[in-house]
């Protein structure tokens, strides 16, 4: 179980709220927000109204109280008017509540003696056409906030210890980049990888656009760095079974699947592989080539620990003989479960490639010379199954003409509505590679709809493809078709141009830019980590513009294509960004949680467990304390939703600053009979 949070009286230095026999002294600050509020709402009228509310000793309207100047004014006003409650009427508390809480604490006021009234989103924005009613609604909102502010109580934040380890889930280039950054900062990194090796898709590519660098030559050293880094432990060929806990205190249970080779003893020498008689299709070669029943998926794998595929192994034990004194092979190996304690988690599980077999018009799976882009990548790769020769499946001959067909599955409302983002660029890469290798001996056609070559150096690369004589044919995405001449295996790609003319090309090979889709484990992992997926199946970031690596769960971050499809440089950058975010958590030593978590009154609690089943975050559970069953809240997990509080039949659970009394006061203020403005 996660460590027990330690609750400290961190705010003990703060002055206790002065008890006043006349009741609280409330200050109301009304924001004009440029003219975004004041153009609709009569702020002067609102200010005058606020002044008349009970316990309000001071009210003013000002432009941008959120600015540093505005904050200074509030601090000064608190001191001058001896305020002990503050209400700011302005925008959404989601945006500025923390700012104003810091502001009031500068005036030695407990930050939870602050209340925000939203008169922008709730009034001026949505009732632009009816300024009078909007003003009236703003008055109601302010009155309610003041009613609650009267009953606010000072609170102290909860501090939780933070474990200075981090788990990176998925060892593609984004995960590698995050892991190396964090390890270099001195944090212990557990890199959990589902397959036999880290490296992800990048390790399978021949070249990278737009520089045409050898992909494995630039990723390989990084993979090796991960393998050798003293702060990184790779847990490969493993699945995540369960994750408990909360920010700073996660505990992950990981199952290491048996390779039947003892990782510590295997040197990766490959002698067992040479002795093995059995070959089977290699997924790393997109099943175009084969590997031995004991082997790594490719030569640069990290770790290079070989794996026995028992589905194909005939158990001749020739590998055991070949391994000899190293004794690295163990046919009795069982799955092993390990637990790691981490303070933060980075999810970088990447993506899958869509199998276009169900798109009949492509002929994929039916016609031998129709390939997917990744299959083509393995064909053109020197270490691939054909030794880098691009040859047809039907006759083993080099094609004299190749057609690339874009947007297969992506930008298709019946399949995947989104753009897969990197297909245009890898198609340009393939086209340029073919043209620069075979020159006039090959005709290259690209059937595209939009060429998306944004970002640095990409448009220039598009120009390079055009200069090389690649024929670009802009077509509609509907009514495309690939047909085969069964006698020769040649293909006809036909489509319609944007202005409705039919176009077609006779080619000897066709390559499909098939969609990249969410990883097949995304759903499972989303359940385990309790982080949401969007409608397409990619993980949802906390805020799409300014928090692209955070999830809604504190301490869990996203990196790379699992958040949204990205090419290599952006995955690397995203990985580093997630690392920086995670480091910000790990570096703190303690994590401060808002005190708005459920509180159990032990005298009232009957231990009935109703709260336990009501809680959606496993944050409350009943345990024996002495001889009594009592509900206990795990503060790190509690989101302050209040469901337990309303479910409790004994009224034993209260939500600080959302107590029944406070809410009732607010409701009463809302329905109070008011004079028409």
């Amino acid at each position: 179980m996660p460590r027990k949070p330690v609750q400290k009286k961190a705010m003990s230095s703060q002055r206790k709220t002065r008890k006043q026999h006349k009741g609280p002294r409330i200050g109301v600050f009304i924001c004009q927000c440029g003219t975004k509020i004041s153009s609709v709402i009569n702020v002067d009228e609102l200010t005058e109204y606020a002044k008349k509310l009970p316990n309000v000793v001071y009210a003013e309207n000002m432009n941008y109280p959120c600015s540093s100047q505005g904050q200074d004014e509030i601090v000064a006003s608190i001191k001058k008017n001896k305020l002990d409650r503050v209400v700011v009427a302005g925008c959404s508390p989601r945006l500025y509540e923390p700012t104003f809480q810091r502001c009031v604490s500068k005036a030695n006021l407990n930050p939870w003696l602050f209340e925000m009234a939203n008169i922008r989103e709730f009034s001026s924005y949505c009732h632009k056409a009816k300024p009078e009613e909007a003003t009236q609604k703003a008055k109601d909102t302010v009155r309610m906030s003041v009613a609650k502010a009267r009953l606010l109580e000072p609170l102290s934040p909860v501090e939780l210890p933070v474990t200075k380890n981090v788990m990176v889930v998925g060892g593609g280039i984004a995960g590698i980049s995050a892991a190396l950054d964090l390890a270099d900062m001195g944090f212990k990194v557990y890199m959990v990888e589902k397959t036999e090796t880290i490296g992800g898709y990048m390790a399978l590519l021949d070249k990278t656009f737009p520089t045409l660098d050898c992909s494995i030559c630039i990723e390989g050293p990084k993979m090796v760095d991960v393998g050798r880094h003293p702060n990184i432990e790779i847990i490969s060929y493993a699945d995540i079974m369960k994750v408990d806990g909360y920010v700073g205190n996660f505990r992950a249970r990981i199952r290491k699947n048996p390779r039947y080779v003892i990782a510590e003893k295997c040197t990766g020498c490959g002698e067992c592989r040479d002795a093995c008689p059995i070959e089977y299709p290699n997924y790393a070669d997109m099943n175009l080539g084969v590997r031995k029943a004991i082997s790594p998926p490719f030569g640069q794998a990290v770790p290079l620990t070989h794996t026995i595929n028992r589905d194909y192994c005939i158990e001749c034990y020739k590998c055991i003989d070949a391994c000899g004194a190293r004794q690295a092979i163990n046919f009795d190996q069982k799955p092993e479960e390990v637990e790691v304690d981490v303070g933060a988690i980075i999810v970088s599980i990447g993506y899958d490639m869509y199998n276009p077999q169900d798109l009949e018009w492509t002929g994929y799976g039916k016609y031998l010379n129709v390939f997917t882009a990744l299959e083509f990548e393995r064909l053109i790769l020197a270490a691939g199954p054909t030794g880098g020769k691009v040859v047809r499946a039907s006759d083993g001959q080099k094609p004299h003409s190749v057609a690339f067909v874009q947007c297969v599955g992506s930008r298709d409302i019946n399949k995947y509505e989104y753009c897969s983002s990197f297909c245009c660029m890898y198609t340009l890469k393939h086209a340029v590679m073919l043209k620069e290798k075979y020159r006039d001996a090959i005709d290259v056609y690209v059937f595209y709809n939009d060429m998306r070559s944004n970002f640095k150096g990409y448009e220039e690369f598009f120009n390079r493809a055009q200069k090389n004589g690649v024929k670009f044919i802009r077509v509609k995405l509907e009514d495309r078709r690939i047909t085969e001449d069964p006698a020769t295996g040649n293909l006809t790609v036909s489509a319609e141009t944007e202005d409705g003319r039919p176009v077609s090309a006779q080619v000897e090979m066709a390559v499909l830019a098939n969609a990249a889709i969410p990883h097949h484990t995304a759903h499972e992992l989303a359940e385990i980590l309790k982080i949401p997926l969007n409608k397409d199946g990619f993980f949802v970031e906390c805020q799409p513009k300014i928090r692209p690596t955070d999830t809604e769960v504190p301490g869990i971050f996203l990196a790379g294509a699992c958040q949204g499809l990205k090419d290599i440089p952006y995955s690397v950058a995203h990985g580093s960004a997630a690392a920086a975010q995670a480091a910000a958590v790990l570096n703190r030593g303690t994590w401060v949680v808002e005190p708005l978590v459920a509180k159990v009154n032990e005298d009232l609690c009957s231990g009935c467990r109703i709260c336990e089943s009501a809680c959606g975050y496993n944050a409350i559970s009943v345990a024996k304390v002495g001889d009594k069953d009592l509900a206990k809240v795990v503060e790190g997990l509690c989101r302050g939703c209040g469901i337990c509080s309303s479910a409790c039949p004994m009224d034993a659970i209260t939500m600080p600053n959302y107590s029944d009394k406070q809410i009732v006061a607010q409701v009463q203020a809302a329905v109070e009979k008011v004079e028409k403005a």
Binding site: A275, C276, P277, I278, E279, Y280, P281, M286, N287, L288, G289, V290, A293, D311, Y312, I314, E315, C316, Y317, K318, D321, M353, N355, Q357, G365, T372, L374, E375, L379, P385, T386, V391, A393, G396
Partner: protein, 292 residues
């Protein structure tokens, strides 16, 4: 991307394929040569081959069992190719007969010790009819030199030794499989000749004149087990293989095949002769057999 796996069946053959971009793995089962014996089903390390008894139409002879290979289990290792006494299964890579398990010494070659003593071949041989029950021996005289030639298709020969009787002195054959076969006639159903119907070796089984029941003849039996597969009464026909003539080898896959084809006892005997202590200990742990 999905692997292209193909399975085709015609009246004469069953073909399995993995079609990769530059590799084409192919297994062909020649239905005419297959006798529906047990050998491949026992030899296959992935248990991919199964036999299906064929229903008999009334009044007709019993039909040999039909072999089927499971495409999802087969890994084209070629062990069935090596083990089939009738040479009915061939495994190839890109059209060439390929047996990597032999090359890597993961499985032994079975010894078909068949010799033709050329000095004993004479014109009389031409008069011998049906020297081989499977038609694997051709005897012809060369038109030019008038010399008689005896040719044996060794690849498909199960080594029944019938030819030694038909062509005395000319043919020298040692059995590939040794064992025992025993029919307990008192358990045989009346008028049942199922075993005889499917036996591919003429003379290995015959009907006794006295009680019209099938008797076995150890002299020609190849211990393939085609009879055992179709026998309707479990205990009526006893068949045991005790030895398989093969090239020397150390291989776990072979030990398992040998155990299934013969028995744990016979297998441990062989392990003992090879001095495979470690393998012997594992058998002892597994089935409690101790052979010293």
């Amino acid at each position: 991307m999905p692997l292209r796996k193909l399975k085709e069946e015609t009246a004469d053959s069953l073909t399995l394929q993995w079609v990769l971009h530059v590799q084409n793995y192919k297994l062909t089962l020649d239905k005419n040569r297959c006798v529906g014996c047990q050998i491949c089903t026992l030899a296959c390390p992935k248990e991919a081959i199964t036999l299906q008894k064929q229903p008999r139409t009334s009044g007709q002879k019993a039909r040999k069992a039909k072999a089927d290979v499971d495409l999802s289990k087969c890994n084209f290792c070629g062990i069935c190719d090596i083990a089939c006494p009738y040479g009915a299964i061939k495994v190839s890579l890109n059209g060439k007969h390929a047996l990597p398990v032999l090359e890597k010494e993961s499985f032994p070659e079975f010894i078909r010790d068949i010799r033709v003593d050329e000095s004993k071949v004479n014109a009389e041989c031409l008069n011998v009819s049906d020297p081989c029950p499977l038609g694997l021996i051709t005897i012809k005289s060369d038109a030019a030199s008038a010399a008689v030639k005896v040719e044996v298709d060794k690849e498909h020969c199960p080594c029944c030794t019938l030819c030694e009787v038909k062509l005395p002195g000319v043919m020298h054959v040692r059995k590939m499989f040794s064992g025992r076969i025993n029919i307990q006639t008192e358990k045989c159903p009346e008028n049942c000749t199922d075993c005889l119907d499917v036996c591919p070796i003429r003379g290995a089984l015959c009907i006794s004149e006295t009680d019209k029941k099938v008797r076995s003849n150890e002299a020609f039996c190849v211990y393939c087990g085609a009879c055992k597969v179709v026998c309707p009464i479990d205990e009526a026909l006893e068949l045991k293989r005790t030895h398989i003539s093969h090239m020397p080898i150390h291989s776990g896959a072979w030990n398992k095949t040998l155990e299934r084809l013969t028995s744990p006892v016979e297998m441990t005997k062989e392990l003992k002769t090879k001095g495979s202590t470690r393998a012997r200990e594992s058998v002892k742990k597994r089935v409690g057999l101790k052979v010293d």
